[in-house]
Structures are given as structure tokens and as C-alpha cells.
Symmetry: C2
Subunit: 287 residues, 2 copies
């Protein structure tokens, strides 16, 4: 396993971590100042600054992407909605290409409308089929453009609203079905917050292997957790066995960034400088 104690060169910052403190251009500057070598930005943050401006700022600072957030949300109550989702994913793939991202992260979607408390249907099997069909369509486009897609299994507590792929095993089943040749164009974004509890985690990480492990995200699971979405913990403040999980991922061949992604009202209420400095300190001690 790689030694993270001497430097934070493997640290990437998911820019949602400080999205309430700073705009993306400021985040890039603050990362550059601290020798944070990579980020994973969100589409709305990029749109605010401008796509070309963001690409330019990245080139100037030498900061690379560890992923681009996000595509997905494939489900819809009708055909028009399904087609609109495919269009939107093509745009996301193009943006990811412009920013030279190593992959587009897919939060695949779940019961359409559930996110606003009004699911237009409850058939989880249908949602899963729409997601598989959507990924298949995006993959065709992504292959032409040369942009790998990374399915992110989300915690089962998000199964209704955000993603109906909730285990690494399920994500890999889809990868195997759509990309049996393991071309490197379809894989997973493994966020420990979503999968740490899974009794099959180590086994499925081995199954994934280097070809399928396109991104690796860390934060921590707090006890108690007070909110299903925005109460993630800073690494070391919760119960996830971060080093053990990283040893599994690296044993499977992963050698990329360990990306910090913390959605937390608590951390959003602290100065951005303090958040980044804490991320660096924890990355070199507990990740």
C-alpha cells in the first residue's frame, strides 16, 4: 500500500466539499496554493465560472481532474424525459472531455420525481432497466469521444431519490453486461461513504480490478448521522476503516487519487482554508 504520510500528492478535492464557501475559480486557487494536485468539480460550479475559463485556469495552475461530477439521472416518467436525459449526458461527456477528466462520474438516478417527494412511479425494476439502457446509450457516445464512464453505487438510503444502483456488485454486474471486454471505458467510482458497510466489499473490489476502478472517494461515517445527505464526516471522525479499504483498492491495482468528498452542513459552515488544511492533515494520517 502506498505511504501517504510524507505528502498529500494523492489527494484530490471534490469541490462540493467547499461549495458553500467559494466559487470554483477560488477553489482552484486555494488548491494550487496548497499543492493539491487534483480536483473533481461539479457541473454547476463549472457553469458558474464558465467551461473554457475553468479549463484555462486548470492549465495555468497545472491542476488535473480526478473525475467530473456528474452524469446520470437516467430515469423518467416518459420517453421525452428519457431522451432529454441522454442529451444531457452527452453534454456532460463533452464537458468532461474539454476539462480533460479521466472519467465522468454517474449518479444514475432512481424513482423519477422522488427527489421532490413525488415519485411518478414506484417500480424499482423499471428504474433499474431505464438506468441500464441509459448507461448503454451514453457508453456508445462516450466510446467515440474517449471519455470513460464511472458508475457510482450510492448508499441504499439514496435508492429512492438519487441512484438505484446501491452496491458495488450491482454496478459491476452492469459493467460486465455492457462492457464485457473490460475496455476501460466503463467502470465504477467507489465512494467509501456509500459502500463501507457492504459485507462483500473486499470481494467485489477484487472482482472490479484495475480496469473497473476509475475513481476512489473518501470521507467518514458519523455516529450519529443526523441527515441522510449532508452529514458526512471528515476522515478520522467516523467509523469507516479507511486504511483497510484503501489496502483492498490498491491490492486490486488502483493507483489513482484518493478524492475527498464531504457533504456536510458542519464543514460548509467553517472557513474554507480550515477545511482544506484539515483535509490535507487527515489525508496524511488516517486515509
Amino acid at each position: 500500500m502506498r505511504d501517504f504520510t510524507a505528502s498529500h500528492e494523492a489527494l484530490s478535492l471534490n469541490t462540493a466539499t467547499v461549495r458553500k464557501q467559494w466559487s470554483l475559480d477560488r477553489i482552484i486557487d486555494e488548491c494550487a496554493k496548497r499543492n493539491i494536485r487534483a480536483i473533481s468539480p461539479w457541473r454547476d460550479q463549472v457553469a458558474s465560472v464558465g467551461l473554457k475559463e475553468t479549463a484555462q485556469r486548470l492549465r495555468e495552475t497545472g491542476i488535473v481532474l480526478s473525475g467530473y461530477c456528474r452524469g446520470g439521472f437516467y430515469t423518467a416518467p416518459d420517453k421525452q424525459g428519457l431522451l432529454a436525459a441522454l442529451d444531457d449526458n452527452r453534454r456532460a461527456i463533452d464537458e468532461a472531455k474539454t476539462l480533460d477528466a479521466p472519467c465522468l462520474v454517474l449518479v444514475v438516478g432512481a424513482l423519477p420525481g422522488a427527489l421532490i417527494g413525488a415519485a411518478s412511479y414506484k417500480d424499482l425494476g423499471r428504474a433499474r432497466q431505464e438506468v441500464a439502457d441509459g448507461i448503454a446509450a451514453s457508453l456508445e457516445y462516450a466510446r467515440n469521444v474517449g471519455m470513460p464512464l464511472a458508475i457510482e453505487p450510492l448508499h441504499p438510503m439514496q435508492a429512492a431519490e438519487r441512484a438505484c444502483i446501491n452496491t458495488l456488485e450491482h454496478a459491476l454486474d452492469i459493467c460486465d453486461a455492457l462492457d464485457p471486454a473490460r475496455t476501460g471505458m466503463l467502470g465504477v467510482a467507489l465512494d467509501l461513504y456509500h459502500v463501507w458497510w457492504d459485507p462483500k466489499l473486499e470481494q467485489q473490489i477484487q472482482r472490479a480490478g484495475r480496469d473497473r476502478l476509475l475513481a476512489y472517494h473518501v470521507c467518514d461515517w458519523l455516529t450519529p448521522t443526523r441527515d441522510l445527505l449532508n452529514d458526512r464526516g471528515m476522515m478520522g471522525d467516523g467509523v469507516i476503516e479507511l486504511k483497510k479499504c484503501r489496502s483492498w483498492v490498491e491490492a486490486a491495482g488502483y493507483s489513482g487519487f484518493a478524492e475527498v468528498e464531504i457533504f456536510s452542513e458542519q464543514w460548509w459552515n467553517r472557513p474554507g482554508e480550515m477545511v482544506l488544511d484539515t483535509c490535507i492533515e487527515r489525508h496524511t494520517t488516517v486515509v
Copy 2:
């Protein structure tokens, strides 16, 4: 699939559903009044009324148990704690026997101390081993007494604090390891709230079969869900495909009660009479 529209004879009430409104003796009376034929009481509720008094009251009203809540919580930071848990589970088994329960439901426990925000260790593999060892020890005692044990897989969002068995597959793996002969003495309590999201649910219900399906619980998953523990929905108010899941369970041979278990600050704040009447109405329409 059984027709529930004509009567609520398959309805059992998990007594936690109205625990803030009424004591157990009152709950039994209110159930008797409404021809609710079965309950699943909690140990603390029974202790408040008295074990013998509860048994007596059940005989008088003809109400039976669909399960007894609960044994488990096997993990501990030290040997003394592990032994104390086994003692406590023996007492729970004895109580279940006194009340003529068909099974003792096991909420198996997770990282010890996490429930009060102070996990004494983070090794989930260790917790799972302690749980398997604890169930094995309880099973020996339970066989002698003649009290089946029902492992309840809890939602992964409870993996740190309450139960480190979080999928039906994992629960059945343990059943197969400890009771390969499928004697009927070890099985699962399937609560849809915990497992509805699982892409392998139908497959694993088939695997479980009649021998392993010892209890079946219903409520609903709300969008949004505002609390990880006490924001369950009344059947029909959420997104769980209740009838589809019941068809799977019955296809596997289950013919027992569909037990209503709703932990909800919202429903605890309503009159108990209204809660029970609503349970009956929903049981005959959407369960």
C-alpha cells in the same frame, strides 16, 4: 397471493408502533377491540406490565405473538461484555417462550458503543464474527428451549450502530453456516423497510424459502426521509412496492402475519386509535 381486502386477519401489530401513546396492556385491549389477532411486543414494554401479567392478558384476549422483540446486540469491547450479551439473550429466549412467541427477533448489534457515538472499535469484520459466534451460542440454547431465532437484516444506514447484518443474503449465509439442515430453528425476520432497495431481494427470498422466513414486517419508505431511525412511513405513504414484495414472500411459502412496525415521531404524535384504524385500512388496501 392471499387476498387481504376482505379482512385484516393477517395483520399483526408491532407494539412499538404505538409505544408512545399506550402501555402494553392498553395496546392489547385496543387490538382485541379491533380484531387484531397478533402483536409483536418489545421487552421493555413487557417488563413494564410484567411478564406473567402479559402472558395472562394474551390468553384472555386470544391474541397471539408474531414475534418477540428482541434479542441480539452481541458485540462488545471485551469478553465480559460478550458473556453478558449471551446471558441477556438467554433471558430473552425464556421470555419469548413464556409468551409462546413463534420466534425471537434478533437485532444483532454492530460496533459496540457506536449507539452513543463512541465506538470502542471500528473493525466491522470483528463485529460480524462476534455476531456469528453469539448467534451460534444462542442457537444452542434456543434449540433446547424450542424457540426459533429470526435474524433481522437492518438497513445499511444502521450498520454502525444497531446491526452489522445488512442484507438478506448475508443473514442467509449465516443461517446456512449455523443451521445447514434447515431445522426451522434459525431464519430471518424480513422487514421491507430495511431490504426494499436490494437488487437481489427476490432472488434471496426464494433462497430463504418457507423454512427461513420466520417473520415479515411492513411499513413504508418516505421521500424525503428526515431521520435515520424514526421517520418510517405508514403503508401506502411511501415508495415500497408492498404487494410485489408480498407476492415474492408468499411464492416462497410464507403464510404468516404481515406485521406492521412503524417507528415514526409523526405517528407517535397521533391518537393511538387513529393509528390502529389507519393500519387496518391500509392493510386491507395496499399491503
